[in-house]
C-alpha cells in the first residue's frame, strides 16, 4: 500500500456526562490511502460517528481524546485552532447525516456555500465557484437561491456534498450520507459520491450501519462494536465470509434477495447493542454471541490476523490459527 494519507493510531474518545465518563471509542487504528474509500460499519452507539467527530476535532468541549490522527504525518489532535480551521475545509470535510438539520434554514443554500469559500479564500469568485459546485453535484445553478425547505431530501444531501467540496478537500468523511433517503435517491447519491471520488481523486471515509451499501462503495472496511474495531479487511470478503460472529449477524440482517437460506427466515441477534457506559467484560459481544465460549466473559480480546489483510477480534480466530 502507498503511504497513508490519513493514519489513525490508538484513538480513544471519552465523553463526559453527569453519570460519569462515557468511553465511546476505545482504541481504534486504521489507515486511509490516497484515493481510497474506507468503510466504517456498525450500529448506533458503536462509536463510528464519534470517530468522524474526532478526526476533525469537532466534539463537545471537555471530551477526552487521546491517540494520534496523522494527516500527512501531522497530528490533527495537536494542531492550533487556526491551523485546524483551515484543515477542516481544505484538507478534510464532512457530509453529515440528517440533511435538514445540517443546513441553516433561513439562509439561501448558495450563500451558505459561498460563505465557506470566502472565509478560506480558496476561489477568486465565490459566486462562480458555487455555480460550478452545484453543477458538479448535479443540481441546476438556479437552486443556489433556494432555501433548504424548498429542496427535497435528495437535493439537500447534494447541497451538503457541494458544501463539503467547497474548498477542494482531499478527504471526504461521509457519515450516513444516504440513511434517511429513499432507495432510488440513495442510489443517485451513491452514484454521485462514486463519480466525485473518481473524478476528484478524493479519499473517502464512508460511515454507515448498512453493510450491503459498504460492500458496494468501499474497497476496505472495518466493523465496529462497543467502541472497537472487531473485524477489518476487503469489504467484499468481510461480508461474504465474515470471521467475527457479529459481522456474520450484521451481514445476515440484510439478506440477498433471491437467497433461499433467508426466505421467510429473518435472522437477528438477541439483546441490544451495549450501552457505552456499561460495556460487558471480556469480549464485549459475548452476551449476544451465539457461539460464545466460557473464556469469552473474561478473555483479553484484540484484533488477530486471519488471512491476507484480514483481522478479527474473536478467540475462535486464535483457536483456528493454533490448529
Amino acid at each position: 500500500m502507498s503511504q497513508p494519507l490519513l493514519s489513525v493510531r490508538d484513538l480513544h474518545v471519552t465523553y463526559r456526562s453527569e453519570a460519569g465518563p462515557v468511553p465511546a471509542v476505545r482504541g481504534v487504528s486504521f489507515d486511509l490511502a490516497p484515493s481510497e474509500t474506507f468503510g466504517l460499519a456498525g450500529e448506533s452507539g458503536c462509536g463510528k460517528s464519534t470517530i468522524a467527530g474526532a478526526l476533525l476535532k469537532v466534539l463537545p468541549p471537555g471530551t477526552d481524546v487521546t491517540g494520534e490522527v496523522l494527516l500527512d504525518g501531522e497530528d490533527v489532535l495537536q494542531m492550533t485552532p487556526g491551523r485546524l480551521r483551515a484543515v477542516r475545509w481544505t484538507e478534510m470535510s464532512i457530509v453529515f447525516q440528517g440533511a435538514l438539520h445540517a443546513l441553516n434554514p433561513v439562509q439561501r443554500v448558495g450563500n451558505q456555500i459561498a460563505e465557506a469559500i470566502e472565509v478560506h479564500r480558496t476561489a477568486p469568485d465565490a459566486g462562480a465557484r458555487v455555480a460550478e459546485l452545484l453543477e458538479v453535484v448535479g443540481l441546476p445553478a438556479r437552486r443556489a437561491s433556494d432555501y433548504p425547505h424548498q429542496l427535497s431530501g435528495g437535493q439537500r444531501q447534494r447541497i451538503l456534498i457541494a458544501l463539503a467540496l467547497a474548498c477542494n478537500p482531499r478527504i471526504l468523511i461521509a457519515d450516513e450520507p444516504t440513511t434517511a433517503l429513499d432507495v432510488m435517491v440513495q442510489a443517485q447519491v451513491l452514484e454521485l459520491l462514486e463519480r466525485l471520488q473518481r473524478e476528484l481523486a478524493l479519499s473517502m471515509i464512508f460511515i454507515t450501519h448498512d453493510l450491503s451499501t459498504l460492500s458496494y462503495v468501499c474497497r476496505r472496511t472495518a466493523v465496529m462494536y462497543a467502541g472497537r474495531i472487531v473485524e477489518e479487511g476487503l469489504a467484499d470478503e468481510v461480508f461474504a465470509r465474515p470471521k467475527h460472529p457479529y459481522t456474520a449477524a450484521l451481514a445476515a440482517a440484510f439478506p440477498l434477495i433471491g437467497d433461499h437460506a433467508h426466505r421467510m427466515k429473518p435472522s437477528g441477534l438477541g439483546g441490544d447493542p451495549p450501552d457505552p457506559r456499561d460495556i460487558p467484560s471480556g469480549c464485549p459481544f459475548h452476551p449476544r454471541c451465539p457461539i460464545a465460549l466460557a473464556e469469552c466473559t473474561s478473555a483479553e480480546i484484540e484484533l488477530w490476523p486471519t488471512g491476507e489483510g484480514r483481522n478479527a477480534a474473536c478467540v475462535r480466530v486464535l483457536d483456528e490459527a493454533r490448529r
Partner: protein, 321 residues
C-alpha cells in the same frame, strides 16, 4: 369463511394541496388482503402507501370507493369504528414517537383494552401480550418507562399494545426502519410468529424489499397512488415485470447481478399525475426508445391502464407486457 379478510375497491383518497390543487394520494386502488398472509405494500415515500394504510384503518375517509372488511364495507360512525379498530390494529413506525414518554409499559399496553372496554383480567392480558411480543418475563418490564427501554424493546411494546386486543389484522408501517440492523431480524421473526401462532394477518408497509423477501407471502408495489404490480413475493422478486419494480430492485444493494437502472428525479408530485401510464415520464422503456420500437409509446403517454395478468397470481400495469 372467505379467504379474503379485507379488500379495497376503487379506493381514492384526495387532499387539498398548498395552492388549492388536489393531491391524489391514493388514486384507484383495488387491494386484497387474504386471511393469514403477510402482504407487503412496497413503494417510495410519497407514493401513497401510508395514506392507503391509514384509510384501511378508517383514519382517512375515501373520496371514492370503499374498504371492505369481512365482506362488509366499513362505516365511519363511532359505533362501527371502535370495534373495528380493535380488530384492525396499526403498528406505527418510530416506536419512540408512538409511545407516551410518561406512560409505563403497563399503561401503554393496557390503554387499548380500556378504550375497547374489553372484559376480563386486564393485568393478565397485558402480561400475556408482553410475553407474546417477546418481552419475557413480562413482570420485568411492566413498570418501566419508554426511555428505559432499547429501540427493539420499544418496538415490542408497541406490538404488544396492538396484540393485547387479539386483532385479526395488523397494519405495520415501516416496523423495523428505525431499528439497529442486529435487532431488525428479531422483530421480523416476531411478526412471523404472530402469523403462525396467533393467526394474525399482516399488512406491512415498507420501502424495504429485503424485508419483503424475509417475511412476505405477497407483494404489492405502489407508484404515485396506484398498485402497478402485485404477486407472490418470490415470483415477483425473482421475475419483476413492471419497469418501475425492475428499477427499484436494481438499486437495492441486496440484489446481485442486475444492471442498475437509476431513475432520475424524485417520486413525482401527486397533484400532477401524468397522463397515460403514470410512470411514463421516468420509464426506462420510454426513455431508451424501446417503447417506440414496440409501437406502444403513444399508449404509454396517453392511455391509462389497469393491472392485468402476466403470470399465475401475478399482475402488472404496463403496456409493454
Amino acid at each position: 369463511m372467505s379467504d379474503i379478510l379485507l379488500e379495497t375497491r376503487g379506493l381514492a383518497v384526495r387532499f387539498p394541496g398548498r395552492h388549492g390543487e388536489i393531491a391524489r394520494a391514493v388514486d384507484g386502488v383495488d387491494l386484497v388482503v387474504r386471511r393469514g398472509e403477510v402482504l407487503a405494500l412496497v413503494g417510495e415515500s410519497g407514493c401513497g402507501k401510508t395514506t392507503l394504510a391509514r384509510t384501511i384503518m378508517g383514519l382517512e375517509r375515501p373520496a371514492e370507493g370503499e374498504v371492505v372488511y369481512e365482506g362488509e364495507p366499513i362505516r365511519y360512525d363511532a359505533g362501527f369504528l371502535r370495534p373495528y379498530r380493535g380488530k384492525v390494529q396499526m403498528v406505527f413506525q418510530d416506536p419512540l414517537g408512538a409511545l407516551n414518554p410518561r406512560q409505563t409499559v403497563y399503561e401503554a399496553v393496557a390503554e387499548g383494552l380500556r378504550i375497547q372496554k374489553l372484559p376480563g383480567d386486564e393485568a393478565m392480558r397485558v402480561a400475556d401480550a408482553l410475553a407474546r411480543a417477546g418481552l419475557r418475563p413480562p413482570g420485568r418490564f411492566l413498570r418501566l418507562y419508554p426511555y428505559e427501554l432499547s429501540g427493539g424493546q420499544r418496538q415490542r411494546v408497541v406490538i404488544a399494545g396492538a396484540m393485547v386486543l387479539n386483532p385479526t389484522l395488523l397494519v405495520a408501517d415501516e416496523p423495523v426502519s428505525s431499528l439497529d440492523a442486529s435487532v431488525r431480524g428479531e422483530i421480523l421473526k416476531l411478526m412471523l410468529e404472530l402469523v403462525r401462532d396467533a393467526g394474525v394477518t399482516i399488512l406491512v408497509v415498507t420501502h424495504d424489499l429485503g424485508l419483503a423477501w424475509n417475511i412476505a407471502d405477497r407483494i404489492a408495489v405502489m407508484y404515485l397512488g396506484r398498485i402497478v404490480e402485485e404477486g407472490p413475493a418470490e415470483e415477483l422478486l425473482s421475475h419483476p415485470r413492471h419497469p418501475y419494480t425492475r428499477a427499484l430492485l436494481s438499486v437495492v444493494p441486496e440484489v446481485e447481478e442486475m444492471e442498475q437502472q437509476i431513475l432520475q428525479g424524485e417520486a413525482p408530485d401527486p397533484t400532477r399525475i401524468p397522463s397515460g401510464c403514470r410512470f411514463h415520464p421516468r420509464c426506462p422503456l420510454v426513455a431508451s426508445g424501446e417503447a417506440a420500437r414496440l409501437g406502444i409509446e403513444e399508449r404509454c403517454r396517453y392511455d391509462d391502464l389497469a393491472l392485468h395478468d402476466v403470470a399465475p397470481e401475478h399482475r402488472a400495469a404496463c403496456h409493454a407486457l
